[in-house]
């Protein structure tokens, strides 16, 4: 079954040269006869078409600024396509960047609930997995402390345990993250692989060649917002050689 269909997708970014416009400038500019260009358009994605089927593990490669993360964000509906269409069948779990939705004043436990609902969990489900998240993050003692008092490692462990409990249909990963001490990184990897195994589709953006090789069997090579190649591991080889 086809899970994701990207059909002639284009995405235009508008780069504004002077930051936020103020109302004063806006009205002042209304009366200006010679208009300066205040922004320039930039096509971050251009006419992409591909589809991803059930069971596929797709790696997206390309240089910085090739549009990899933009493509992921468009698939996750954070960006609206400027042209073309993205159709997704199934529940997408975006991996929140470490602690993106954490509120510093809230305790660890409250953040689990807040972030959990954003990830699509119901309260009863969260109550069931809450303990597991806490014990994996090794935060039993501090779970009722506001996260702003957490050390960086504690913060990352909590964010990681929460993010990797999801049971997604379609898993979208932007650069694998890992934090904490060496033992946690090792346990974290295991948990990550388990989560990837549970997902029916996985899309991964990474620069780590060996990771890509071990996790994905299909590769899409992007450059300047266009697909250079789409295929098996030979695509990765060609990208690596380029």
């Amino acid at each position: 079954m086809t899970k994701i269909i990207v059909d002639d997708l284009s995405l235009k970014f508008r780069a504004y040269h002077e930051g936020a416009t103020s109302a004063k400038e806006y009205f002042a500019n209304l009366f200006r006869t010679t208009k300066r260009a205040k922004y320039s358009d930039f096509w971050a994605l251009q006419n992409l078409s591909f589809s991803i089927r059930d069971g596929e593990r797709v790696g997206i490669v390309g240089r910085n600024g090739a549009g990899k993360s933009t493509l992921l964000k468009t698939i996750c509906r954070i960006y609206e396509p400027s042209a073309g269409k993205v159709t997704v069948h199934g529940r997408i779990a975006p991996l929140l960047e470490i602690g993106a939705g954490f509120h510093p004043e809230f305790t660890g436990r409250e953040n689990i609930y807040f972030n959990g609902t954003i990830l699509g969990y119901r309260k009863e489900q969260l109550r069931a997995i809450e303990q597991e998240i806490i014990s994996f993050a090794e935060l039993e003692e501090f779970i009722d402390t506001p996260v702003k008092y957490y050390s960086t490692g504690m913060y990352m462990r909590l964010a990681f345990s929460l993010a990797t409990t999801v049971d997604p249909d379609i898993l979208v990963l932007d650069e694998l993250f890992a934090g904490g001490d060496a033992t946690f990184v090792k346990r974290g990897k295991e948990r990550m692989y388990n989560m990837i195994d549970r997902a029916s589709v996985m899309i991964l953006v990474s620069h780590d060649q060996s990771l890509l090789r071990s996790l994905c069997e299909r590769f899409i090579w992007l450059d300047h917002g266009k697909i250079v190649a789409d295929g098996d591991v030979s695509v990765l080889d060609r990208y690596a050689a380029s």
């Binding site: 970014f13 508008r14 936020a20 109302a23 964000k73 993106a100 939705g101 509120h103 954003i118």
Partner: protein, 263 residues
């Protein structure tokens, strides 16, 4: 087709109701967390403000303090809700930038969360005020059953305008400051401190055209006079609410998908 789309929009909002619930909780809890009086401040703050205002203006207007206090409280409740929800909604998308750029959430949730939290605040304040009103000699009347209807209309009206503010502030950040000044002016141009008839002459048309005049009446009639508001007031307020909500939703839906690029 467009009906169908709108229905989809609503059902999606419904799917995210737990996020809304969490946002409201966050709003309510966070403000006074780790303060000694906690949530009590939410009540205390308007009570103190209104008491001082009541003492000053009842003296100026040479009115009986008790009568004037009830008059003022009844007008202040709807105005304060309108003012805070429009002002604070401007921050709702900007303040959640981190979240909006990382994960898909229907953006309407953010201003809605703020408005609902403020509604809860307002109802609690109104209840506390009403207990005081009763203590200083107000009357319990059947007309008070109208207050929930008044709140529904007030909420819809304020939320529509708040939606326009939410989007506009993302594009023009100056609006956060402009709206503060505007609300200050509006407070004096709305019959909150005085009766609508009191402002005669050149500016009388402001009172007549000011939509908030209708909403103040919705609350003042039952609380101050103990009678149901006139049908014409209710109709006008109802019309304004529907209009505001329709314009707000249209504006919000038209622009929300571009917001992620501008935050």
């Amino acid at each position: 087709m467009s009906d169908n789309k709108f229905f989809q929009y609503l059902s999606e909002l419904y799917e995210f109701r737990f996020v809304l619930q969490q946002l409201v909780r966050q709003q309510l809890i966070l403000r006074y967390r780790r303060t000694v009086f906690g949530y009590f401040w939410t009540l205390l703050n308007p009570l103190l403000m209104m008491s001082v205002t009541a003492i000053v203006f009842s003296t100026i207007f040479k009115m009986d303090l008790k009568t004037y206090a009830i008059f003022l409280f009844a007008g202040m409740i709807p105005f304060a809700f309108f003012s805070t929800s429009v002002t604070q909604s401007g921050q709702s998308l900007i303040g959640n930038e981190g979240l909006i750029k990382k994960v898909y959430i229907p953006k309407l949730i953010f201003p809605l969360g703020i408005s609902v939290a403020l509604l809860i605040d307002s109802v609690l304040t109104a209840t506390a005020l009403f207990i005081i009103i009763l203590a200083i000699g107000g009357n319990l009347t059947l007309a008070l059953f109208f207050i929930p209807v008044g709140y529904v209309l007030l909420f819809l009206f304020s939320f529509g305008i708040a939606l326009v503010m939410t989007i506009s502030t993302v594009y023009f950040r100056d609006l956060q400051h402009v709206v503060g000044i505007f609300m200050q002016a509006l407070l004096f141009l709305t019959p909150v401190f005085y009766k609508p008839e009191a402002l005669q002459g050149k500016v009388a048309w402001v009172i007549a055209l000011n939509p908030l005049t209708q909403f103040v009446e919705l609350f003042r009639m039952p609380i101050y006079l103990g009678v149901f508001p006139e049908a014409s007031t209710v109709l006008k307020a109802g019309f304004l609410s529907v209009l505001s909500l329709a314009v707000g939703l249209w504006f919000f839906r038209r622009h929300e998908h571009r917001v992620a690029f501008r935050l």
